[in-house]
């Protein structure tokens, strides 16, 4: 099975690739490709901080050097040369926070009906829709998330449908259009949903699916059609038969079968995850992550063996039947089993403090004698999140050559009193708590106290 993973490449080669991708049209970008350009940056050394690299390592009293938008070096006593020096004594530095499950822009603030663009709840299979075509870049939630240290996030369609559509990964930079925010080279996601939501939405209309078995029949039928579409395309390419009419829905599903689009599967219950894994086996595709995996702790080994990340909340439970068994130790049990554990938000408020959500797990784990060090927990919202999104080759950890997506915290990020002080995206200082006048403000927020993500 082919899965696209971006790997670390020499800078020169990366630029070359970018140039190739951009194609030949007048503004230098192919339709639907990223028009993101990093904000201006200067060579910077962050000095004397406690650094959590995102690779599981903690380095005390260390420096981080960024230049040309990349991490150049991490370690103690690095040469400052002629770089801009930032005294980060007493502060902690982590990779920028990555949220794999956000609806910013598609369910923006204010949450008025006119803005409700996250669920194309008109048919159980809407694999043809793309979340990026709903994103409102002026959502004040983006800036609030930035103040919470978030540098990248995947914007997903909602969970009303079996196949909700494509998700898009964004850099958390202000853009006039979504294209200016799109993470260059990040694969699309496909949002799928198990369980209560699809069967409730369509069952209440007297249409299929109205049961979990109806859900499963829906997924399988769709993959059969996608496989057929793909075979016809392949045959036509070899001159055997006519190419089928381009079909956006099947194109997305075929993209999954080709390993180019990553499956992000909303799935609460352990038994349903097992069912979804069998569907993936039947049609030979890979599930990148189960989202809202409230019961993942019951099948931690199964998820690890199938190389599937569990993207979860710290402690949401009880709001629906399939969330009845949620426990705070979910992440602790998964992490202990060696399963790729990801802390996600699904919330414009929660995305601002994925560090605090992780702190709850650290506390709950300590209660039962499981010690989770900060350098381990930080992976849940940095490198593991990057892995689930297929961008771990270029971001998610503080390693030389990776994008300089960096958050500087006022202290230990797992303290409730700690705040993101400085946020760098591709080496550019995009947020500075001590200098609010230079921080971004969305058009919508002008003249309100939400000016700086409500943190003025």
């Amino acid at each position: 099975m082919k899965i696209l993973r971006i790997t670390v490449l020499p800078l020169s080669l990366l630029f070359l690739l970018a140039a190739c991708e951009q194609g030949a049209d007048s503004d230098g970008a192919a339709p639907w490709s990223s028009r993101y350009t990093p904000l201006p940056s200067v060579a910077t050394i962050l000095q004397g901080a406690t650094v959590l690299t995102g690779t599981g390592e903690r380095i005390d009293n260390a420096d981080v050097v960024m230049d040309g938008g990349k991490i150049i070096a991490v370690g103690p006593g690095l040469d400052a040369g002629s770089m801009t020096v930032v005294d980060a004594g007493g502060m902690w530095i982590t990779p920028g926070v990555i949220d794999v499950h956000s609806h910013l822009g598609v369910y923006p603030s204010p949450q008025v009906n006119a803005h409700s663009d996250g669920n194309e709840a008109t048919a159980p299979n809407t694999a043809e829709v793309w979340a990026e075509h709903s994103v409102w870049p002026q959502d004040p939630g983006f800036v609030a998330a930035l103040a919470g240290g978030v540098t990248s996030m995947q914007i997903l369609p909602g969970s009303a449908n079996l196949f909700g559509g494509r998700g898009v990964t964004l850099k958390n930079v202000p853009g006039q259009s979504v294209q200016e925010m799109m993470f260059p080279g990040a694969p699309h996601g496909l949002k799928m949903a198990c369980g209560e939501n699809p069967k409730r939405v369509y069952g209440s209309r007297g249409t299929s699916p109205s049961t979990r078995m109806g859900n499963v029949a829906g997924y399988r039928s769709a993959w059969i059609a996608a496989d057929d579409y793909r075979k016809k395309l392949a045959a036509a390419e070899k001159g055997r038969g006519e190419a089928p009419l381009r079909d956006l829905q099947l194109e997305t599903l075929a993209g999954v079968l080709d390993g180019e689009i990553l499956v992000h599967n909303h799935c609460y219950r352990a038994d349903e995850m097992a069912v979804m894994i069998d569907i993936a086996k039947e049609f030979d595709y890979k599930i990148s992550a189960f989202h809202h995996a409230v019961e993942a702790y019951k099948v931690a080994d199964m998820l690890r063996e199938n190389d599937i990340c569990a993207a979860i909340w710290a402690d949401w439970y009880g709001f629906k039947m399939e969330a009845f068994d949620g426990i705070r130790e979910n992440a602790a049990i998964l992490d202990r089993a060696g399963t790729c554990t990801v802390m996600h938000s699904d919330s414009a408020i929660g995305i601002q403090r994925l560090n605090q959500e992780s702190a709850k797990v650290i506390g709950a784990a300590a209660k039962v004698g499981i010690d989770i060090a900060p350098e381990r927990a930080v992976r849940w919202f940095t490198s593991n999140a990057a892995k689930a999104l297929g961008i771990d080759g270029v971001t998610g950890s503080l390693e030389p050559g990776k994008m300089a997506d960096v958050t500087v915290w006022s202290g230990n990020p797992f303290s409730v009193y700690t705040k993101a002080e400085r946020v760098y995206i591709d080496g550019a200082l995009v947020y500075d708590r001590q200098n609010p006048d230079v921080n971004p403000v969305t058009d919508f927020s002008l003249g309100t106290s939400a000016l700086h993500g409500g943190a003025q």
Binding site: P110, G318, M321, V368, F414, A450, Q456
Partner: protein, 433 residues
């Protein structure tokens, strides 16, 4: 924690109430009394018959007392969930387990959710092992049902409950009537927030009139009222100031109306939501209006909350407004009021004020501060022993006392946890219990 038990027969002489009949002394901790004594280092708390008998430094441990050595620990009063539906909502989306919302014209201010309270709810152990010992249980407005029946401007009566296993679960019945203003009020009135306020004003005026002319009304010699007799009865205590009125309001203009109504009718007013309350901090303080906020809500979720910000708690408390947390963390997540309080501290609120906001402040709002809210002699022994700063999310209670009883630190969630922490069995999980 090391526990030393020394008992003598003299203890039996004090046996009386449903709560612990013996004397317990907790020694050596840093005690945040949230009372006039402030924070005490290396203090002793003596509990007798479920109540705090003494708290202070240099206190003699009574002979025969059970002694709990809490050296190096932190003790706070039990936490108070200022708003929510604990025991009224088991599973949010499972209709039959939800009893906080009523629709249609039959019930309004007098709708009494205390009768629906389930003290065996799984949410109760989950909440109390994280420190919640008392909670307001309140009715609330909901979306119209399939027949188009709507909730009302007045949702009904709220009560305060204790989350322990013994004794009467009601700490105080009918402490407040809940009213819906702003967008929520508009949705349940005639499509305008003005209609909600008019309806509310009519009901309060009717209650005043009914109070003066009850006899004539009962004889049938008086005019009709806009609400039922049960509702009028519920509102009499409100206009007399003995029962609070909780107003769901976020927009500054709606909060200004609350201040006006409070003065007009002599109400003891509490605002729930209060996203823009910081803009009226001094006015709220002057009018003695309390505010229940969410310490993490900083986005304009709707046009009532355009100026929401994280500094609200700090600004209100500094101006002298009584503040509680609970507009966000409620019911299943009532335990997260510590997160709300911690974030308020991170954004300018005084730490002691934040602790007060999750203990004494709600007790005062609901008139139960004679019973709970601080560690003072005579009050019920609701106490939490913490290993570290209670507002830190990595902290957790090591022992929880409700009315002097040490409750088991077990919940449905700890049972699930313990089952799935085991990995060394060949049997399926169903055999681990």
């Amino acid at each position: 924690m090391r526990t030393t038990i020394r008992m003598t027969a003299t203890v039996l002489a004090f046996a009386a109430s449903v709560a612990s009949a013996q004397t317990t002394a907790i020694t050596g901790a840093t005690v945040h009394t949230v009372g006039p004594e402030g924070t005490l280092e290396n203090a002793t708390i003596v509990i007798e018959n479920g109540r705090i008998a003494e708290v202070g430094t240099g206190i003699q441990v009574p002979v025969g007392a059970e002694v709990i050595d809490a050296s190096g620990k932190i003790i706070t009063p039990g936490l108070f969930s200022a708003m929510g539906q604990i025991g009224l909502s088991e599973v949010g989306a499972v209709t039959g387990t939800n009893d906080a919302v009523q629709r249609g014209d039959d019930f309004s201010a007098g709708f009494d959710v205390a009768d629906a309270y389930n003290r065996r709810s799984v949410v109760i152990p989950i909440s109390r092992i994280d420190g919640i010992t008392r909670a307001l249980i309140a009715p609330r407005a909901g979306r119209p049902d399939e027949q188009g029946n709507s909730s009302r401007v007045l949702s009904g009566l709220a009560s305060v409950v204790q989350l322990g296993d013994s004794g009467d679960y009601l700490t105080r019945h009918g402490v407040a009537v809940v009213a819906n203003l702003g967008e929520a009020g508009s949705a349940v009135a005639a499509g305008s927030r003005a209609a909600a306020i008019q309806e509310l004003r009519a009901a309060l005026a009717d209650a005043l009139d009914y109070r003066r002319n009850k006899a004539a009304y009962e004889r049938g010699d008086w005019r009709e009222y806009s609400v039922s007799t049960a509702d009028l009865e519920a509102l009499i205590s409100v206009v007399e100031g003995d029962r609070s009125m909780i107003f769901a309001a976020n927009r500054a203009s709606d909060i200004e109306i609350v201040i006006k109504l409070a003065s007009e009718f002599g109400l003891s007013a509490i605002i729930i939501g209060g996203a823009e309350a910081w803009m009226l901090a001094h006015e709220l303080a002057a009018a003695n209006v309390s505010v229940i906020i969410d310490g993490t809500a900083n986005l304009p979720g709707n046009f009532d909350r355009i100026n929401a910000r994280l500094e609200t708690g700090g600004i209100l408390a500094a101006a002298g407004v009584r503040v509680a947390f609970g507009a966000g963390a409620q019911t299943h997540q009532a335990r997260n009021i510590t997160q709300s309080a911690g974030n308020a501290v991170a954004n300018g609120m005084d730490w002691d004020a934040a602790l007060e906001a999750i203990t004494l402040a709600p007790a005062e709002m609901y008139g139960v501060d004679g019973e709970v809210g601080s560690i003072e002699p005579g009050k019920s022994a609701d106490l939490i022993i913490w290993g570290a700063d209670p507002l830190e999310l990595t902290s957790y209670p090591e022992q929880v006392f409700i009315q002097g009883e040490s409750i088991p630190l077990e919940s449905r969630q700890t049972l699930l946890r313990d089952r799935y922490l085991q990995t060394d069995t060949v049997q399926p999980p169903a055999f681990r219990h």
